[in-house]
């Protein structure tokens, strides 16, 4: 590897304010060609603002941005793309009703006689997808028919189509499953060999470790430190990020006592996604769901929560048969679901924090049909304190909160109902370390209080760290249950690929 790297972008004393809030203050930052530069920081540390400035979404309030030595002021992302700065955003920017190829070339379609050359577009899209090891995605597939992980791959393909000099990946791997993550690793190495710079933002430490040459830590809108990979230990990095020591990342697991099953699922079937799921979750247990993306986890949780129609099979709550006819009925039965996508399924983004918190709880804070505003205030206060939601005024829209605090609102609104069985669908996606720990601790506290937790995560380390037992799903069914010492990353990966049944295929 040659050290003769040029500066691709540099920020000089850049600040950005939103109203009275400082998102970035006096940041100096440089990114070199042929490198993978990791940016670390908790939610609200200023990472998103930084990349929005780099990619032309926002203008700095003060300071200057240099691209290959020239000062620039972008007023749109299109101008940044022209200079080769391309960003894959955390929020998926694909149009669900257009095809994969249409989405990849949405702003620069290949043309012939002034019209879109569909054949060329399809061919180029297929080539890009093949480069991303996703050749099974047909360019004519509609985006809405793809899983979240595949969509994210398409999103990356869209960025690659613009032949970037600097590729920015903002939490781009958080929705990806194991295999796709490896593909992205390989891609970034290839790009580095071609002299392309990448900026990589992720909350998964091991990814950043594995991938990046240089790391920059941000905290509270300030650039704390930049160093080469290996110069600092993980513990030091975490301390730089949160500004304090953290103890254990996962709360200790108590010794498991045999308990009666709280939730039992027998031969659960739904369309092509669930093909006879059997599951027994005991009271006081954190039961993990593992496996590759798209093996039926999401459908299983939705089916148990009554959100799917035409589910066949048996569900028992505390040994009593239960038919989940609707989320409303499940809520009454003491179930709660923290959905996969907090922005479309968990929250009403433009409604206030207060309204979001109260939504499932109006029956509890009303006298007859009329809301008792004093009881409602109390409930909101309790919810905010219990999960330590950092919110100025609960009358503000929930979209003004950081990702971690938004997720806390989703969890808090269910905790106010004191549910007996909590279903969590990947609740830590795109969330900072501190909030993750709080969520893990809350899960353990609930379990210790005799509640039942069913927890799906795409991050195997979380499953191993948190769960008493883990069921691994493959192709719409549970293929293995692991606990205790048998609960290792190798065991989960092997079961996820269903290796022992299909041999070494």
């Amino acid at each position: 590897m040659t050290k003769a790297k040029e500066e691709i972008v540099a920020l000089r004393d850049v600040s950005r304010y939103f109203g009275g809030i400082t998102a970035l203050s006096g940041v100096d930052f440089t990114c070199h060609s042929a490198s993978v530069h990791g940016i670390l920081g908790e939610n609200g540390a200023g990472k998103s603002t930084l990349i929005k400035i780099l990619s032309g979404v926002l203008k700095p309030s003060a300071g200057e941005v240099l691209v290959e030595g020239r000062p620039v002021t972008y007023s749109s992302t299109a101008e940044a793309v022209r200079d080769g700065i391309v960003c894959v955003f955390q929020e998926l920017s694909l149009i669900p009703d257009l095809s994969v190829a249409d989405n990849i070339y949405i702003d620069t379609p290949p043309k012939r006689f002034g019209l879109i050359d569909r054949r060329a577009q399809r061919k180029q899209a297929a080539e890009l997808l093949a480069r991303l090891n996703a050749s099974e995605v047909h360019p004519d597939t509609l985006i809405r028919d793809l899983s979240l992980s595949r969509r994210q791959i398409v999103e990356i393909a869209k960025a690659l189509a613009k032949s970037p000099k600097l590729l920015i990946l903002d939490e781009a791997t958080s929705a990806l499953t194991g295999k796709d993550v490896d593909t992205v690793y390989a891609l970034l190495s290839d790009l580095r060999a071609d002299g392309v710079a990448s900026i990589f933002i992720s909350h998964r430490m091991h990814e950043v470790d594995a991938l990046c040459d240089r790391l920059s830590v941000f905290r509270n809108g300030q650039h704390i430190e930049t160093f080469d990979k290996g110069e600092r230990s993980d513990a030091e990095i975490v301390r730089l990020m949160i500004g304090r020591e953290i103890s254990a990342q996962y709360p200790p697991k108590p010794k498991r006592q045999p308990a009666p099953p709280a939730l039992e699922v027998k031969n659960l079937r739904w369309e092509n996604s669930l093909k006879g799921v059997n599951l027994k979750v005991e009271a006081g247990e954190i039961h993990g769901l593992g496996g590759l993306d798209g093996q039926g986890h999401k459908e299983l949780l939705l089916a148990v929560f009554g959100a799917l129609k035409g589910v066949e099979g048996e569900i028992k709550l505390h040994d009593k048969p239960f038919r989940p006819t609707s989320p409303a009925a499940c809520k009454k039965a003491g179930l709660a679901l923290i959905p996969e996508d907090r922005k479309t399924e968990g929250l009403m983004l433009n409604l206030s924090i207060r309204d979001n918190l109260l939504l499932p709880n109006y029956a509890a804070v009303s006298r007859g049909p009329i809301i008792d505003s004093r009881r409602a205030d109390e409930a909101v206060r309790d919810g905010v304190t219990r999960l330590q939601i950092k919110a100025g005024d609960t009358a503000n829209p929930v979209e003004t909160l950081s990702g971690g605090n938004q997720q806390k609102v989703v969890i808090a609104k269910w905790m106010m109902l004191d549910p007996d069985i909590v279903l969590l669908n990947d609740p830590t996606r795109g969330i900072d370390v501190g909030t993750k720990q709080e969520i893990f601790r809350l899960m353990r506290d609930l379990a210790s209080a005799g509640k039942t937790i069913l927890f799906y995560s795409t991050d195997y380390a979380e499953l191993i760290g948190c769960c008493d037992r883990v069921s691994i799903l493959y192709d719409g069914g549970v293929v293995a249950v692991r606990e205790g010492d048998a609960l290792t990353e190798d065991a989960i990966v092997a079961a996820s690929l269903n290796l022992h049944e299909r041999g070494a295929a």
């Binding site: 939103f18 109203g19 009275g20 809030i21 998102a23 929560f305 959100a307 609707s326 989320p327 409303a328 499940c330 809520k331 009454k332 679901l337 959905p339 479309t344 399924e345 968990g346 929250l347 009403m348 983004l349 433009n350 409604l351 309204d355 109260l358 939504l359 499932p360 109006y362 029956a363 009303s366 049909p369 009329i370 809301i371 003004t400 609104k413």
Partner: protein
């Protein structure tokens, strides 16, 4: 990510609508001062009379707001209103008003089930219901103006005055208090906002979104039926097409009052101001003795113009 305004974005359109209303009143008053040397628009009796006519629109708009908050629309207002009026006068006697309201409840239930259970877009479904109702009423009346008359109670509610104030204004006020209270003080009202903001998230929060939609459509039709009963009382009888002039103004009043046309946002006070704005605009145009054609053009242009101002507000915020 954060913008700070002294006026919250939710209330901004309400202030704009209020400003427009005042400007229109000033223009009208200036015009009459110059041409007639008098200011009839500022006389209480004139205002009361204008608001009495506005009450019919106000009641329609109150119901329309419920469905617009859900991101839906109710295009069956005109013939729901007419059908309720016709049924009320046909039945007559003490059962006239319950008969009219029952029409509203049935149509609303039908609309709501079509939209929430059959999942047909409300724009198509309610338009179809409107047309079917028109057919039913033509069959019922033979296509002529019904000969039946409004009952004395209907006439009292629509045309009489108590303490110098039109009774219709009390009805409008009653409907307003009910809707405003429903939206701000009940779980149902909050569920309407939540369902309009993000139906999937509301559903997964354990809200029975189907019944929220059905409920909102029933309230909308019930309001239209109430307006029909009032209007029949005001004109002493029901007539073909009596609901036609109320559809666009009702939608316009709701949207001008700051309710988001895609649902989830809006305050009832805004709808109230939107109705007053439209009533004032209409009366200024008639004071200026504009020919009907010009009135329609100005009326439409003003509505589009004001919506443009709002549109710019929202885009510049992002």
């Amino acid at each position: 990510m954060n913008t700070q305004f002294s006026v919250s974005p939710e209330n901004k359109p309400i202030f704009i609508a209020l400003g427009f209303t005042l400007v229109i009143i000033l223009i009208g008053t200036g015009y009459t001062l110059i041409t007639q040397g008098a200011a009839p628009m500022l006389m209480p009796s004139y205002l009361a009379q204008q608001l009495q006519i506005g009450a019919f629109l106000g009641v329609c708009a109150a119901g329309m707001m419920m469905v617009i908050l859900l991101g839906h629309i109710d295009l069956s207002i005109p013939w729901t209103l007419t059908a309720a009026a016709m049924m009320a006068t046909t039945v007559g006697g003490p059962w006239a008003i319950p008969a009219g309201l029952a029409v509203g409840l049935i149509v609303g239930l039908f609309n709501g089930l079509g939209v929430s259970v059959l999942r047909i877009p409300s724009m198509i479904f309610t338009l179809g219901v409107d047309t079917a109702l028109r057919g039913l009423m033509v069959a019922h009346t033979g296509g002529f103006a019904p000969q039946t008359e409004a009952t004395p109670l209907m006439r009292f509610l629509a045309a009489d005055r108590v303490l110098g104030i039109p009774v219709a204004l009390f009805v409008w006020a009653g409907v307003s208090i009910a809707i405003a209270g429903l939206l701000s003080r009940t779980g149902f009202g909050k569920a309407v906002y939540a369902t309009g903001a993000k139906e999937s998230a509301a559903f997964l929060s354990g809200i029975r979104t189907k019944w929220v939609i059905v409920g909102a459509f029933m309230i909308s039709s019930l309001c239209a039926a109430t307006a029909g009963i009032l209007l029949a009382g005001y004109s002493a009888k029901a007539y073909q097409g009596m609901g036609n002039p109320y559809l666009l103004p009702a939608i316009a009043a709701v949207v001008l009052g700051g309710t988001h046309i895609l649902g989830g946002r809006g305050r009832y006070i805004g709808t109230l101001i939107g109705v007053i704005l439209i009533v004032v605009l209409n009366s200024v145009l008639s004071i200026m003795q504009m020919p009907e054609a010009v009135r329609q053009i100005i009326y439409g242009t003003v509505i589009i113009g004001m919506l443009l101002v709002y549109g710019r507000e929202t885009t510049s915020r992002n």
